[in-house]
Symmetry: C2
């Protein structure tokens, strides 16, 4: 597919200028652009600058507040609930993660559930904030309902990702960042552009039958939980997505299950709203609240090296450690630039014209 | 398959007497029997009394200490590391979970990583200890290496289960208890007894090729992470199993990855032992450290009822909420008794004779 290369700095400046143009403070615009672009750097193109115009449309319909008063509304020594005041999740989640980190400094761990937020980009960005403090970081969020639980036709959960990041010593950090579905929505979009089918186990049709149609979501179909079907453990993927929903939304007072607000601004809001906005859950655990960080990191190096040395199945060259593919993208794209599809460039050009913000 | 029915009390008394006979204190024997039997009650037959003779064999080879000095070796207000002193995991894990609950009472949450333990039965028993305190409970453990990471021939992880239990109001609690593999080892044993094949995606052979042989573990094969293969998201199941290993063992100083001690006493210990025993991770979060427990439980009821009302795919009668199948087993078996396969009864009769403990 035709694409063009841009430097990180070009795209960061554009995104930051757009966020300032809609009214974000320079600090918030900076954080939002950094969070958003971390997805492009790490190769998760579906969650990066390709979504910028989507965030702006949410602001246009007054579902995103550009000047939120983000605050703690309840807390204990190791916990807090943060009200995002309808701000960009790209700004609200880093605020909440910082609260978790401060609490971990004080009492060993910090756990923050967030209400009244919006989509927060990639979970990995937030969880990885813990690494420089020698902490394990966790981040989860609920999301618009696209996923049918095992045996269900109805879409009840989002792709509800979980990220856990743990520091190592000489080896790069362990970063597991995963949607709780067989495949994330972004993978379907890639197949749509190629006019290709999905493998069995990714989606079902509007009647709940197995399907391989990459466009099935537009026809009333659903994504399937990790596992695909009952025989292959989809009840486990469903349970994991449910856990994310409970920690992110039922613990904070956000909307949950099929009542989570949709990301596309043109999709009507659910008639029923049991909570406020969408929910996140952020956690930080100080390693030395358990054992000396140096001992842990030495063991992590040993652990990682053990996995890298595994013999491989026929046709594969190496066993990966969670975080390897994204880190390789980040190294390559930091040096050589970020490729954007022509369709994304056109969309950003239109955004540039609409808001009178110059495009590189 | 031929089986016989026993009452909970009959099996509890027998297990407790066996544990006392090998030297456990009455209190420890009581806890161990209760933890063990909770698996039989909840329909997870592979982890219940069928394993009793296996625990005794571990004691015979001095890998289980019947009179352990279980203690906290490091702590902060929200964390602790517990040394199980080679005790039964059936006793060590409830001790650690109680520590987590006490910390949650004080500072909102409690997180305990455990070293130097043994197999702890079902994760669900420990996580559910939190429910009566209006807390969310979590339990995980690492286990003997039977699982090959994505693209690997080598077995590097156990079936490493995760349980999260959350209280509801009028509805029964949400209890998600899952191995991070497509299918747990117990499911293979059922197929072996029926002389049946597994579905594709459960196991691979000794060369890393897809297999449907339910006996493949005895021939050098491996269980596969949840997802089955890369195309169906096995890198996610692998990442989840890895997270369990890190929190249970690298955070506590237990053995990890392929160096976790095997459950069968006749299997030699790994030559290399980077830590002590096997590791667990237990957590408790006070609901009202986030929001009023009544509000949370009302939302949980609403959440659960929403899932129960889902329309079903062709051929299925209802959508289940995590914990439903196990709770239905518990209700039925508490009333009508626990069925044991003849082979299990024979094994327990032999144990009865060997230790001179009367069998019902």
């Amino acid at each position: 597919m035709p694409e063009q290369l841009f430097s990180y700095q070009q795209l960061f400046d554009f995104a930051k200028n757009i966020f300032q143009k809609i009214g974000c403070s320079p600090e918030h615009a900076d954080t939002a652009a950094k969070t958003l672009l971390s997805a492009d750097l790490r190769g998760i193109d579906s969650h990066g600058i390709a979504r910028l115009s989507g965030y702006v449309r949410l602001w246009e319909v007054k579902r995103v507040n550009a000047t939120p008063d983000i605050k703690i509304i309840h807390e204990t020594p190791s916990t807090a609930v943060v009200d995002g005041d309808s701000g960009l999740g790209l700004v609200v989640a880093p605020f909440a993660m910082q609260v978790a980190i401060e609490k971990a400094k004080q009492v060993g761990t910090g756990w923050v559930s967030v209400q009244n937020s919006n989509h927060f980009g990639i979970a990995g960005y937030h969880a990885m904030m813990a690494l420089e403090h020698d902490m394990i970081g966790m981040a989860m969020t609920n999301a618009s309902p696209l996923v049918a639980p095992t045996f269900s036709i109805d879409k009840m959960l989002g792709t509800n990702p979980i990220c856990v990041a743990a520091p190592a010593g000489n080896e790069p950090a362990f970063v597991a960042d995963l949607a709780t579905t067989t495949a994330a929505n972004g993978k379907l979009e890639i197949l749509q552009r190629k006019n290709a089918d999905t493998p069995l186990g990714w989606v079902q049709d509007a009647e709940g039958n197995p399907s391989t149609d990459a466009n099935i979501l537009k026809k009333g179909g659903a994504l399937l939980p990790l596992g695909g079907d009952r025989e292959h453990g989809s009840h486990k993927g469903y349970a994991l997505g449910a856990i994310v929903d409970i920690l992110s939304a039922l613990l904070s007072g956000a909307n949950y299950a099929p009542w989570v607000p949709p990301f596309p601004a043109y999709v009507p809001m659910p008639a029923q709203q049991p909570g406020k906005g969408i929910g996140h859950f952020l956690g930080a655990m100080r390693i030395d609240a358990f054992r000396p960080a140096e001992d842990f990191k030495k063991d992590m190096d040993h652990w990682i090296q053990g996995f890298r040395k595994c013999r491989t199945i026929p046709g594969e060259e190496k066993v990966l450690v969670p975080g390897d593919p994204e880190r390789e993208f980040e190294e390559e794209r930091s040096k050589n630039g970020i490729p954007l599809l022509d369709a994304v460039v056109e969309d950003l050009n239109n955004l540039s014209a609409k808001l009178s913000v110059s495009w590189p």
